[in-house]
Subunit: 338 residues, 2 copies
């Protein structure tokens, strides 16, 4: 059992779910700290029925903390986490900053839990939300038939942009309902009633940072740099849960029935796949997956454009398995093992 | 000039735009009739500042009508249009029913206008909305580099499901704004705040009718049955304008700069492609394309997963170029030629 743990970014969209999971899953510790930015320090958090005061996440706040789960912006993770590590804290980091560092393991416990045990920098990264559900789906296909190529188009919820993103959609929905113009604070354009084909900042070759995460993080987690990925990341007016239209080409052909079997056997994956179902098709949808810890897969079918391709639809709560749940699972693995 | 024309389905979502276009573009005719289902017969339509009464679209209503533009459900098109043709009417049909008939041309004027002149059944079909924008985008790439394979994931607006679809989203948005549960009349599930990965009915191999249209109609319009398509059709909570994430593999490699040049030279296509643009990326979005007659393309980039692949994002007003505009363009071609 850990003597002392800390939740960093405890007042944020992901941090508050980390707290919920630590409580619900009875994560073992003796003392717990709630850290956040200077702006949120002093706020009160109710945890397990008790009031706690949020402390500012200064380097000194980590003295005596054995394990921290951090959900902060990239720049905070860059500046703060080495200081935490220097004070003896092992950090599970949800930010994007450390993920591609060769000395930082990038972990999805169902796929590469053991990698978490080799963290020379004292930091273990949890992947980007859109990557986690992609690799959870690709992993069983890859093990069986070796994935050569992935084409993925995302339908990403506003909660992935944090509380300000959610506010933009909520305000936009109210504006539409009341016949007013939408104003936005988080996104570059109105998001209610719109699709924005840009998430993150422009990077190489016309791709965005979010899209390149789907390439590089996938390769790192699956441990195979030969996998090719064509990513398109799009923000849609959905409050929570990312959806992905995924095409995987494998070396060995995978039939639809084999794929169903492989997905069903993958821990953390739920298959919802009955397009017919007497007129009420069954497939995953963000509206119904919110609050769930699993990755949902449906619309499984042979790719009509390639003999060894498999197409499917994948939905996951981006704040849970896409972030908080995965981080807490890493913490549980470190505590209990596989 | 036509002596007499008719607009069938004149009170519907597409029909009302057909009327607007006939007016705005000064389509030449001497008399015009407004036809609709029994339910809408007797309604008043204001056209060019004058009141007209909507007539029921019985077979006899077509007597003396030279040209009709019909926007009706498939079953109505199946039953009604042969009767109209028997009475001497040439029909431009927006429904799905006749499109794949080998004796019915399927026409996008910028691509295969001349096909409209060979209509042995007296019916000319206009493609499905999601197909039209796809082929408008693929055509210049195909001409230059021969398209071998298309992977397309759609983000389709509710207006594609007609006025009931739009009502479902509007009611859903009001329900969310007021904290109520959504009720739906048109879609199988709530659409506000959701993505529904089913459009149309289940067909072969786990694909939906909407998805197979993206395959078969594309082949017919481009006149190339060797083109392979992997389609995924998804309804998103957008009022109007379909978006598509498209990947095209060609025999001859097409660079991004060449693709921009090819798209820009395609009549009816507008390129909006500057991801950087000092922090305010430029790319097409449904929110801003509504009411426009063109097909908009952006996010043009080399496919990171295939040397001869090109990825891009395409948005089009599904009620306009996806339906009404294309039909009126066919009518104009028959009148004026290319």
């Amino acid at each position: 059992m850990y003597e002392s743990i800390a939740v960093v970014g405890a007042t944020g969209a992901v941090g508050s779910i980390v707290l919920e999971l630590l409580d619900k899953r009875n994560f073992p510790y003796k003392t717990i700290k709630f850290l956040a930015s200077k702006r949120s320090a002093g706020k009160t958090i109710i945890f397990k029925g008790q009031s706690h005061t949020v402390e500012e996440s200064t380097p000194e706040a980590f003295v005596g903390v054995q394990l921290a789960i951090a959900s902060t912006p990239d720049e905070t993770a860059r500046d703060l986490l080495p200081d935490a590590v220097k004070r003896g804290t092992l950090v599970i980091d949800e930010s994007g900053y450390w993920r591609m560092d060769p000395d930082v393991p990038l972990v999805v416990p169902e796929i590469n839990a053991a990698a978490a045990k080799n963290a020379p920098k004292g930091i273990i990264s949890s992947p980007n939300c859109s990557t986690t559900q992609l690799v959870m789906a690709v992993k069983p296909l890859h093990d069986y038939g070796k994935a050569k190529r992935i084409v993925v188009s995302t339908y990403q919820a506003v909660s992935g942009a944090g509380m300000l993103g959610t506010a933009d959609l909520e305000n936009g929905i109210r504006a539409i309902a009341e016949g007013r113009e939408q104003t936005v604070e988080c996104f570059p354009y109105p998001i209610a009633g719109n699709c924005i084909p840009q998430i993150g900042s422009p990077k190489e070759q016309g791709y965005t940072s979010e899209e390149l995460k789907l390439l590089y993080e996938t390769r790192k987690i699956l441990g195979d740099d030969s996998i090719k990925v064509c990513p398109t990341a799009v923000r849609v007016p959905v409050v929570n849960c990312h959806s992905e239209s995924i095409l995987v080409e494998t070396e060995r052909k995978i039939t639809v029935s084999k794929a169903r079997e492989l997905f069903a056997a993958m821990p953390g994956v739920v298959v919802q796949d009955d397009l017919d179902n007497r007129g009420q098709g069954q497939y995953p949808m963000p509206y119904f997956c919110s609050g769930r810890d699993e990755v949902f897969i449906g619309r499984i079918r042979e790719d009509l454009s390639c003999d060894t391709g498999l197409a499917f639809w994948c939905v996951c709560d981006n704040l849970r398995k896409g972030a908080a749940t995965n981080a807490v699972q890493i913490a549980e693995y470190l505590q209990y093992g596989a």
